[in-house]
């Protein structure tokens, strides 16, 4: 896809051209279909297309309805920012427009003021009055917020991120400014676990989690090389050749989004989900909810009308790998084996 970057065009490797890594792709897609799933953490070694996939996702994103010219992408039916509330109060209604969802990147070197927003200096200089200048959390509302190397993020930034993620609201009280705006973002993080662990509170924030490893199949590795070389030498042609595939996938996502609410969640399905989580001794209700939502999104993406066994199974394996209880050093393999055996048992 092409992205405007200070006038010059930046080419991004297309999503559908990524070889393999199906779990990661489906994890991202499910979050587009149902943003309330709560994001995705991608764990894996270097050079396994983690960042490529997240950046490529942008082209597949659908449009959303948002208040016109609102920097916070307020949903006119949802929680409103101070600004929209004022407008609503004075004019009695809000105009909406369709905007394409975006992927916003949060760089490691970000400072606090740019994350949550601060006083607009230029406005203050010119007009002598205080005005709020939105930060990344503002633009991230109802969009994807992508943190590369999320485990290397500074603690004080993580704290702020967790605060607004928990409330869905960013409250700013600084430099004589008070401002409140909705900040419901879909958090996508990538990390290489060899570089250090993630704080448990942050880990828990991610709805889904996938682990990616390098592909061992020689043929697929050759294909990666072939595509990368083709993209490098002529990105324009490469994108063109992929465009219909890209459009098909984007269309499929939109259709799944539309069909989402028509898929019924029966007591039978809920029972199966709870069976899984309770046999794994998981705390809280978040795992149940995440499995339920992602199973529904999966079934919608697979163009079905009902949730089936394999939807639940796949959803559980995406939702639970980072929530399983284990001693800090117990092999990752062990816990997964246990989960897999429970999931396989379902089918029998």
């Amino acid at each position: 896809m092409e992205e405007k970057d200070g006038g010059s065009l930046r080419m991004i490797f297309p999503f559908t051209a990524i070889v393999g890594q199906e779990e990661m792709k489906i994890g991202l897609i499910l979050n587009v279909i149902d943003p309330s799933i709560g994001g995705l953490l991608i764990m894996g070694e270097k050079g396994t297309a983690k960042s490529t996939a997240v950046r490529a996702l942008a082209e597949l994103l659908p449009e959303i309805e948002a208040v016109k010219e609102c920097p916070f992408n307020c949903d006119s039916d949802g929680f409103l920012c101070n600004q929209c509330r004022e407008t609503l109060g004075s004019e009695g209604h809000l105009h909406s427009e369709r905007k394409k969802m975006k992927v916003l990147e949060l760089p490691l070197g970000i400072t606090e003021d740019r994350l949550i927003g601060t006083l607009d200096i230029e406005h203050a200089l010119k007009k002598g009055e205080k005005r709020f200048e939105p930060g990344i959390l503002a633009s991230a509302n109802r969009n994807f917020l992508y943190v590369d190397e999320v485990n290397l993020l500074e603690d004080h930034i993580v704290d702020l991120l967790l605060d607004s993620a928990a409330m869905g609201v960013n409250t700013v009280e600084r430099e004589g400014i008070s401002f409140m705006h909705p900040a419901r973002f879909i958090l996508v993080g990538t990390m290489n676990p060899e570089e250090g662990d993630l704080r448990p509170q942050l880990l828990d924030r991610f709805g889904l989690c996938v682990r990616v490893v390098s592909i061992q199949d020689k043929g697929e590795r050759m294909e990666i090389l072939r595509r990368k070389a083709a993209f490098d030498s002529n990105p324009g042609d490469f994108l063109m050749a992929r465009s219909s595939e890209q459009r098909d996938l984007a269309g499929k996502i939109v259709r799944a989004k539309d069909r989402l609410n028509s898929i019924r969640i029966t007591d039978d399905i809920l029972g199966k989900i709870v069976d899984i989580t309770s046999s794994l001794n998981l705390d809280g209700h978040r795992p149940d909810i995440v499995i339920m939502k992602s199973a529904r999104a999966l079934s919608a993406f697979r163009e079905k009308d009902t949730i089936e066994q394999d939807d639940i199974k796949d959803a559980a394996s995406l939702s639970l790998s980072h929530r399983l209880k284990r001693l800090p050093f117990e092999d990752i393999g062990n816990e997964n084996k246990k989960m897999q055996s429970i999931l396989w048992g379902m089918q029998a």
Partner: protein, 619 residues
């Protein structure tokens, strides 16, 4: 001196040229001793690049705002709007960033550089500024492994790695001296057969690079090589691809051949192999092949090509002494065993006793407000210090400009001034020094010991300490795990420790000493806890001196280290009739707290009583 005049190190020069031709090659890391010419060659690299290519040397004390860019104080005050000051990453675009002693650079700065490099773009969200600009550069770095290692995931970012060995041949050495003083000697160009036209040649190569063909056979060959060498991720494949393509171009071929791939292979894969997996495999192979060992050695001698590659790749394991580690696994040793983990238990609270109080007060990791200008700018405060937070000061002054009657310059009053509050992480590093000698294998003591270490590791995990692990056995000690915060990795390494051979206890302690010195240099704030796990039967010296005297000397060194606590965990079986209690002696020698595995286990009752007391009396 010019680039082609540089004597020897043909592989280093080749690596640089390939990067000049195709920056996709991913940069070069030079590893070698001080004074071996790494920096000299790196600086000569300019000669190979087209005029005007930026070449920036990154100082080790660089701050985030200089690196990424930030707000320009003067301009902003003059003009009354936010003016961005370009950072190094902007100025280096389409050029070179050179980092001398990259292993001494703070990990936070390295992470920032690598993130921008990986993305090809610098996204700035700092001090009220939002900006993005493309930033593609060739990363060139050097390191001296004696001064500390670079973790594998950082190594992996470099497209190529070259090991600098000292020039051995007298002839070459003489050449070096001649070239260094050209006015004395008449120099004649040679080496690589390149003359003055190198710069032009690079330009030509760049223009035809994309026309070089690569068959599926070669792609398959690359993929196979990477799979066989346990290269993690797919970056190795890509770097290998770019490198061999640049190589073919440079030597005037229209199509890449296997030979070209072989030529660049050591440069690209040297630092990339998954060492442990590889070792395991070799160990297996070794076991199978034992009877035919002689034959295979002979075979290796005949096949010089494989021999060369082998040598190179094994040296590349880099985490000091890993070469020896690999060699060691190849040595046949009848009594070598790897024990599983024994029982894991909750340890009593012993870690970092001296500063537990302030740690618990501020959470898991201690942070210290830093006095100097180092550390990360966290927030602005209204206090008098000379580290002004420009953005915050401007914000404070901005609303009053109208009232104050600003004309051209901003009017900033004393009460507007804001200062930076910085924060430095005060690290805690637990260094496990583990005895892997044969005596530890008796009655499966090692299994129990590993259980104990695992328990200590869990404690570190809960406290978010960094860990490192040193194993000593046979003739020497080695760092099997450089300092890391991934305790999971530590646990992985722990499982893999084999047992067998003599006990070079002094070597283990010396290695710990060197490691601590290195870390201190890099982050002076760090506190250390050395956990020596041994039965104390030192019986192998590293010098000519007797074991006892050697131990005395090293203990002296250790006692002099600042911010370092020691504990000794005695693994001797105390239920047996004959006990030596050697470890207890070692403990008193280095001033350590002494524990046996049994009294290491948390005594819940006494702990509870202790904590009650503390509550009651507020001790």
């Amino acid at each position: 001196m010019r680039f082609p005049d540089f004597v020897g190190h043909e592989d280093a020069k080749l690596a640089l040229i390939l990067n000049a031709i195709d920056p996709n090659c991913g940069g070069v890391l030079f590893v070698g001793e001080r004074g071996s010419g790494k920096s000299t060659l790196s600086r000569l690299f300019k000669d190979v690049l087209p005029e005007g290519t930026p070449f920036i040397e990154l100082p080790l004390n660089i701050t985030e705002d200089v690196l990424l860019g930030g707000i320009d104080l003067e301009e902003t005050i003059q003009s009354g709007r936010k003016v961005f000051q370009h950072g190094i990453l902007d100025r280096a675009h389409s050029g070179i960033i050179y980092i001398d002693d990259v292993n001494l650079l703070s990990p936070e700065i390295i992470a920032l550089i690598l993130q921008v490099q990986g993305r090809g773009e610098n996204i700035i969200e700092r001090e009220g500024l939002t900006l993005r600009h493309t930033s593609r550069f060739i990363l060139l770095a050097s390191m001296n492994p004696e001064e500390g290692t670079l973790s594998p995931h950082l190594l992996d970012h470099f497209g190529m790695c070259v090991l600098w060995e000292r020039l051995k041949e007298t002839f070459e050495r003489i050449e070096v001296v001649k070239k260094a003083a050209p006015e004395v000697f008449v120099c004649n160009d040679k080496g690589m057969g390149i003359d003055g036209g190198l710069k032009e040649k690079v330009l030509v190569c760049r223009s035809i690079l994309k026309d070089i063909t690569l068959t599926d056979e070669i792609r398959g060959y690359i993929a196979r090589l990477c799979i066989e060498n346990y290269v993690s991720g797919h970056r190795g494949d890509l770097f290998l691809f770019y490198a061999c393509r640049a190589y073919a171009t440079f030597y005037g071929y229209k199509e890449v051949t296997k030979k070209h791939v072989d030529e660049v292979l050591p440069l690209v894969l040297l630092h990339r192999r998954r060492i442990l997996q590889q070792m395991e495999k070799e160990e297996h192979r070794h076991d199978e092949k034992k009877p035919s060992e002689q034959r295979s050695e002979k075979h290796e001698q005949n096949d010089t090509k494989t021999d060369r590659n082998d040598e190179n790749t094994s040296v590349g394991s880099m985490g000091e002494g890993l070469k020896d580690f690999e060699n060691r696994t190849r040595e046949s040793h009848p009594r070598e065993e790897v024990f599983e983990l024994g029982d894991v238990f909750k340890t009593r609270r012993i870690v970092f006793r001296k500063d537990r109080a302030d740690r618990s007060a501020s959470g898991r990791r201690t942070k210290t407000k830093s006095k100097d200008k180092g550390g990360r700018y966290v927030k602005s405060v209204m206090k008098t210090r000379n580290d002004i937070a420009i953005d915050a000061t401007l914000r404070a002054a901005a609303p009053f400009q109208k009232i104050r009657g600003r004309k051209e310059m901003l009017l900033i009053h004393d009460e507007d001034l804001r200062f930076k509050q910085r924060e430095k992480k005060m690290g805690h590093l637990a260094v496990f020094v583990v005895d892997g000698s044969g005596s530890m294998g008796a009655q499966r003591r090692m299994a129990e010991t590993k259980g104990a270490i695992q328990s200590l590791l869990m404690d570190c995990y809960q406290k978010r300490d960094m860990v490192s692990m040193i194993v000593f056995r046979k003739e020497k000690a080695e760092v099997v795990l450089p300092p890391t915060s991934s305790v999971e990795n530590a646990s992985k390494r722990l499982r893999e420790i084999p047992v067998g051979g003599k006990t070079p206890l002094a070597a283990g302690l010396l290695e710990a000493y060197k490691l601590i010195k290195r870390v201190m240099f890099k982050s002076p704030q760090t506190r250390f806890l050395v956990m020596l796990i041994t039965d104390g039967r030192a019986n192998q010296s590293i010098s000519e001196e007797p074991v006892g005297e050697e131990m005395e000397k090293i203990s002296q060194l250790l006692r002099e280290l600042r911010f370092t606590d020691y504990i000794v965990v005695d693994t001797e079986d105390k239920s047996r009739f004959i006990k030596t209690d050697f470890a207890r002696e070692v403990a008193s020698q280095i001033g350590a707290d002494y524990y046996t595995i049994d009294n290491l286990k948390a005594d819940y009752l006494s702990d509870i009583i202790k904590s009650r007391k503390t509550e009651k009396f507020g001790v």
